[in-house]
Structures are given as structure tokens and as C-alpha cells.
Amino acid sequence: MVEIFGIAVSMDPIWLTLEVAGWTTLILLLLGTPLAWWMARLQSSSKIVLEALVALPLVLPPTVLGFYLLIILNPNGYVTEFLRLFGFEGQLTFSKTGLIVGSVFYSLPFAVQPLMHAFEAVPQKLLDAAATMRANAFDRFFTIAMPLSQRGFLVAATLTFAHTIGEFGVVLMLGGNVPGETRMVSIDIFDHVESLEYDQAHLLSAMMLIFSLCVLMLVYALNRRFGVKVG
């Protein structure tokens, strides 16, 4: 609990939110990168199906998405059983893990779409040139495609981060709103509203807005200044 402008706010949800958003961003970059690379190189009509599937979380109301994730990730469900085979203990839902899993689904399109577009813009000729210099496919990806897509990574990371910060429906459903464990800022604000503590709600909203505005401005500025020009 700290006092800001004489209003007592708990900082836990803020740190938790940043932590979950950070992990989500990291995981989505790690998982989204190979997916986006693969999709960028697909030519067939399966690409269209995949693009649509990746965009689906946009369409589902987050609470509904959360509800179905709750059912799928239930500790007696197949997914958890499957993970137990690999020595996983504990539970996917109602934990930080659960929040992160939910957010990863929810923000999937925000990571994959910019990455895919960035990868599509990497000139084939440069990859060919690297191949003639004895770089294998992995090597080409890491030394040519990735550095040339840095804008895509920047956009993907920001959108994912921002979107996870603003996440509400999924984390409420999946997390269970346990203080210090799964209560994120968005839920905290809403709880304040519900229990008529408008001052706290306003303060937290303002903090979130200003923080996000700063992050976004920084990223857009970097994006314009340091983009590698290709071609």
C-alpha cells in the first residue's frame, strides 16, 4: 500500500500486471516467431485458413474466451493431464501461469500478424545470398531475416504488451482475482469501481494511461528513427 495524492493504492496489481505482460510478450515472441515465419513462407490456401485462425481471438469476447479456456485448462482436463505426463505439477488456471496462458491466447494475433508481415517483406534475394555463403536455414533466419524484421518485432512486442496490460475478461475468468496472486490492475480498477472507491479507480486508470502513452510514444519514435532500410 502506498499513498499517491493522498489516495491509498496497492502496488501489487501493478507489479503483477507488468510481470504477466512481460512474460506474455516474451512467450509470444518466442512462439509467434516460428509460427509467423512459417506462415510468411506458405504459399498455399492453407495460409488463408491459418491467418483467419490466428485472428480469431480478436472476435471472441474475452470473457467467453476465458470461459472456454477455463473449461479446457481445468485441472482434470486433457491438457493438464497431458502436461502431467511431463512431470508438470500444479494447475494452469488460477495462478500466474494461468494468467499468462490466457493472455498468450488473447494476444496471439497482436504478435503474429506484425511479425508475419515483417517476414514477408524480407527480400528473398538476401536469403539466397546468405545461402550461397554457406548459411543454412537457421543461420539465415537468425542472421538475416530477424535483424531485418526488427520493426516487426518492435510492433509485435508493444502491441502484445499494451494489450495484455489492458486485458480484463480473460484474466478475470481464468485468474480468479486472488489478491497478490492473480489480481491485475484492470481487475483492481474494476473492483474499486464496483465497491464505489472511485478515487482509487481514477488514480489507477490515470497511471495506466500515462504509463502506456509513454511506452507507446517511445516505441513509435524508435520505430521511425531506427528502422533498418531494406533495398
Binding site: 527480400p123 534475394k125 538476401l126 539466397d128 545470398a129 546468405a130 545461402a131 550461397t132 555463403m133 554457406r134 548459411a135 543454412n136 543461420d139 542472421t143 538475416i144 535483424p147 531485418l148 533498418v228 532500410k229 531494406v230 533495398g231
Partner: protein, 361 residues
């Protein structure tokens, strides 16, 4: 600079790209000196070169280089294992790296046991020693191509592939680069597969020429064979051309004498590199004919020759095929009006006049 034994690149390759079908037919190319792929735009030169390099996954057919198998049916050896170098039309430098990083990219990836060429030597020869730490976006077109060439040479490839390496350059850079490529090929004895549209580049560099048409290899000829046909596709642009080979001697009064048989040509420009034999490119339209050895004339190159053939051409022109007394052939293009006036006949002995300033090596 060791002498290398000649390997052959042999096989037949197929590749479909949309509506275009490459179907090379059997080929067996000696990989020695420069082999030029020549043909009209869209004839499939780039496609063939990419298929040879293994850059297109849909390539089918057979390909072997010496006793290495590069392609059999769908199975193909990955590009990075073929020990080739590739120079693309637009250089294809990595924009996020400096010149030095571009140059070392391939060197770092050489397997143990294969050594890179001497960095300083290549960089110096190609003329980019003072630009190593620049970003590649701050290079001119010519400089970019130099880096691309150095980058490929550093790997000491078994074959160097070049897809129109000069076509994006202005005339000045083009001329410099052509000299450079010629020098490098001579110095490092690396076989080159070279794509170009420009007959001047062919005549300057080629040992053998692969003529392509509509996705097929139409024929493979040595440069001399290709130049002896009056209807050679090489002549489409500036008309017939002869390439004379001779021994260069030391400069006299600002001119460079080139000797073949009893004849002697005076060149006004020649590279200072200590080469013994040079190729002199003579446009047929720069050759005049005289029945007697003329005096009081600024033209100093008078070669005695014999008429082998008179080939009427369109636009009232006449192509005269001559034999010089060391056996080399020379084309002269004159008007039919002149031919009649001089009463030219096959077998006639006369003098071919060529202005020195019109000649380049």
C-alpha cells in the same frame, strides 16, 4: 595462382515458374574461364543459374560438378554445400551490416579445412579497403558491386555465378568493373558463369557462350565460333564485331602495339596490367577498306587482308568478311554503294583501315 584442372558441369535441369518452363536439355560445360549465358530478356538465364546454384527448391533433373552430385531428381544438395559464389544484379548486400561484416559473413561459415582467400589482398584489389567500416547504404552502385564481388571471392568458390553484375551501373562504373572482373578472373583462375545482355561484355570476357532461348539451351559455342557467324545473336545491338587476339608490346609514342602474325595494330588505350595476350574488339562499322595502302591519312592501322565473303545486309549495307594474314577473321561493314564503287570481289587482297582511337582492348 595455381593451374586448375577443368571440371565439367553436366546434366539437364527442369524448373517451372508459373507459366514459364525451363527445360535446359543436356549440357556439359567445361568450367574454365568465363562461360556466358546469353539470351533475350525472359529466356530463362536467371532461372537456369538459380537452378544450377540450388536456390530454387522446385528444381528437378540431374546435375553434377566434376564428381560431386548436385542434383538427382528431386534430391538436391543444399546451396550452402555447393561451394559456389554468387553475385546478384543489385549486389544483395546485407543492409544491416557494415562492409566488413558483409565480407566476413561467408568467411566465418567456411568449414574447417577450407581457408578463405587473403582478406587484405582481395579487398585491396577490388578497391574497397577504405570503405570497410561504412554501412552499405552509403555506397554507390559501383562500390556495392565491388563489395559483392569481394564477398564472393573471399570464399574461394569452385564456381562464381554472376547475374548481370554490371547492368545497374552507369557507363563509367561499368567500364571500371569490367576491367576489374577481367583481372580477377585471370588472377584467381576461378571458373565463372556470367549472365549478360551486353555483347561488349561477352566479347571482353567469354571463353564459351551458352545461348538460351525460351527456356532451352539453344547452343553452346566458343567465343570464336560465335563471332564467326554473321547472324550471331551477339551482333543484334551494334552490328558485327570481331575480336582479335594478339601479343601486346611495350608502349611507343603513346600507343600500344598489338602484334598478330605480320600485322600490327596500334591501340591508344590498354590496361597497364602485364598481360601477354590481349583481346581487341573491333566494330565492323569502324573498319574501312582501301584497295591501296593509303598515305597522308590519319588512320595508322592498315592491315593487309583478303576478302573471304561478301554478305549483303539490309539498309543497303554490305558485311565483308576478311582474313588477316595470320588467319584471324575480321568483319568490315560498308555501304553497298562503296562496295560497288571499289568493285570488291571474294578473294581480292586489300587493306583494312581501323582508327586507333576507336579501338579498346
Amino acid at each position: 595462382m595455381t593451374e586448375q584442372t577443368t571440371h565439367y558441369l553436366r546434366g539437364r535441369l527442369q524448373l517451372e515458374l508459373g507459366n514459364f518452363k525451363l527445360e535446359s536439355g543436356e549440357f556439359n560445360l567445361p568450367m574454365q574461364g568465363v562461360t556466358v549465358l546469353f539470351g533475350r530478356s525472359g529466356s530463362g538465364k536467371s532461372t537456369l543459374l538459380r537452378a544450377i546454384s540450388g536456390l530454387d527448391k522446385n528444381t528437378r533433373g540431374e546435375l553434377s560438378f566434376g564428381d560431386e552430385l548436385w542434383q538427382r531428381g528431386k534430391k538436391s544438395l543444399a546451396t550452402q554445400k555447393r561451394h559456389i559464389g554468387f553475385v546478384f544484379q543489385d549486389a544483395a548486400l546485407f543492409p544491416h551490416m557494415t562492409v566488413r561484416q558483409n565480407l566476413l559473413y561467408g568467411v566465418k561459415r567456411l568449414p574447417k579445412g577450407i581457408e578463405a582467400a587473403d582478406f587484405d589482398e582481395i579487398v585491396g584489389r577490388v578497391g574497397i579497403a577504405d570503405k570497410l567500416d561504412r554501412g552499405v547504404n552509403f555506397l554507390s552502385g559501383g562500390e556495392k558491386q565491388r563489395v559483392a564481388i569481394a564477398r564472393a571471392l573471399l570464399l574461394r568458390p569452385q564456381i562464381l555465378c554472376m547475374d548481370e553484375p554490371l547492368s545497374a551501373l552507369d557507363w563509367r562504373s561499368k567500364a571500371e568493373m569490367l576491367t576489374l572482373i577481367e583481372e580477377l578472373v585471370a588472377a584467381y583462375q576461378i571458373p565463372v558463369l556470367y549472365i549478360t545482355h551486353a555483347p561488349a561484355e561477352v566479347e571482353r570476357l567469354a571463353q564459351n557462350i551458352v545461348f538460351m532461348k525460351a527456356g532451352r539451351i539453344e547452343r553452346v559455342e566458343s567465343l570464336q565460333e560465335a563471332l564467326s557467324r554473321a547472324d550471331s545473336p551477339l551482333f543484334d545491338d551494334e552490328g558485327a564485331v570481331s575480336v582479335l587476339q594478339g601479343r601486346i608490346e611495350s608502349e611507343e609514342r603513346g600507343l600500344h602495339p598489338v602484334v598478330f602474325g605480320e600485322n600490327r595494330l596500334w591501340l591508344s588505350e590498354a590496361s597497364t596490367a602485364d598481360k601477354k595476350t590481349v583481346r581487341v574488339r573491333v566494330l565492323a562499322k569502324d573498319v574501312s577498306l582501301s584497295l591501296s595502302d593509303p598515305e597522308h591519312l590519319s588512320i595508322i592501322n592498315h592491315l593487309s587482308a583478303k576478302i573471304l565473303e561478301l554478305i549483303p545486309e539490309k539498309k543497303h549495307r554490305m558485311l565483308v568478311r576478311l582474313q588477316l594474314n595470320d588467319g584471324q577473321k575480321l568483319f568490315a561493314e560498308i555501304t553497298q554503294f562503296s562496295a560497288e564503287r571499289l568493285g570488291l570481289e571474294v578473294g581480292q587482297e586489300l587493306f583494312a583501315l581501323i582508327k586507333s582511337v576507336a579501338l579498346t582492348e
